[in-house]
Point group: C2
Chain length 223, copies 2
Amino acid sequence: MSAVEPLDTAAATQHVPDATLRRLSLYLHSLNEWSAAGVLTVSSARLAGAAGTTPATLRKDLNLLGSHGRPGIGYEITTLVPVLERTLGLTTAWRVGIIGAGHLGQALAGYAGFTRRGFPVVAVLDAAPALIGTDVAGLVVQDVADLEEVVARDELTMAVLTVPGAAAQPLVDRLAAAGVRSILSFAPVAVTVPDGVDVRRVDLASELQVLAHHAGAASGPPG
Amino acid sequence: MSAVEPLDTAAATQHVPDATLRRLSLYLHSLNEWSAAGVLTVSSARLAGAAGTTPATLRKDLNLLGSHGRPGIGYEITTLVPVLERTLGLTTAWRVGIIGAGHLGQALAGYAGFTRRGFPVVAVLDAAPALIGTDVAGLVVQDVADLEEVVARDELTMAVLTVPGAAAQPLVDRLAAAGVRSILSFAPVAVTVPDGVDVRRVDLASELQVLAHHAGAASGPPG
DNA sequence: CCGTGTGAATAAATTCACAGCA
DNA sequence: TGCTGTGAATTTATTCACACGG
């Protein structure tokens, strides 16, 4: 039997599907903006509109975290925000390392969106001698040969992989061995990982190709 | 009866779900690599492994495009590649404009993965006077005030939006009015678009937050 | 009235399992 | 024997519809 039952302070956190988690992140973003603007409560329709989903889906999503809404009123922002933050793991102080200081890696190192939403980038690594030692977004690029040292010294808890596909698997192996359990990979290849390590893959070109298909096939032909 | 039946040269292209399209893009990427290495045929198990899915899912995916595999043999790469390219809209010469030359925009402008997979970046725009006129990835940053002109002159058919959330909706409106029908947005807000215009959203921070949740809650219990 | 919570219905995606061809 | 094509079963996700609280 599974031994892990992290009883929560208020409600037992059930299993939350990934599709819901991605939406929760958007809900939280909107709530933070409205909170700063002085808004107190928000309805499912309003929040769903901002996140690009439907009220029914939103209510289902939030209900997985417990009943925090009030009929006739909506959701109180100051109540909801901490619940979302807890669910999204924002009570941990994450420390992100970027592996691969090419174009994409350099950009993500300087991308304010990561830090602003709880994931500060504290290290950048690469294998190219020409890059090692240079400054990227205020960080000195370190040698990927020293990956294990860097993980330990900079206390990395997350890695963003922006390397060519062929380099991905060995690096994932080393990251996993070094204790990094959360990896976001931009390489368009599958990687295998030991139990307890979680890899998510984002492929930007694939997203463009979905758009290309929609535009090319039966989509919205004006005439 | 459905009125839309775009008869194709070989097989009628049915409706292909987005989840499948994203995988098709990965299949194509692997096939191109193997093709360059001289491989002639590939089995569903092999290709599925490279793309991080299962053989059954892969066969279902490819079958939406027609029966191109041979029992006992597998799929012939030279047969499959053109089918995937056609389905993914790679017969059109796409021209991508990056709207927003911040960290993320600059990186994507120089990201080789876009060009390599059929989506060359031909224009970069921004609103900041300090950026306009500067060089980004070999392109001169143009004034977003001239968006409509740039779309026409550079014949943009796709836009990548890397601007703050608050700026997204007005820019989407202008892009749509200027004739751009495919938009990839990195802004963490929903936007509304007229019919015939397609927006896909990628939120990188959300992906990290999914990882954070998995790591924080019940995630990889081996038992 | 609004607007949430939620069971039921629906739709979508994945996996199974196996017949049949090379 | 190996491997595809595919109907059926299953799992997952979304939408509907409405009882009930403020």
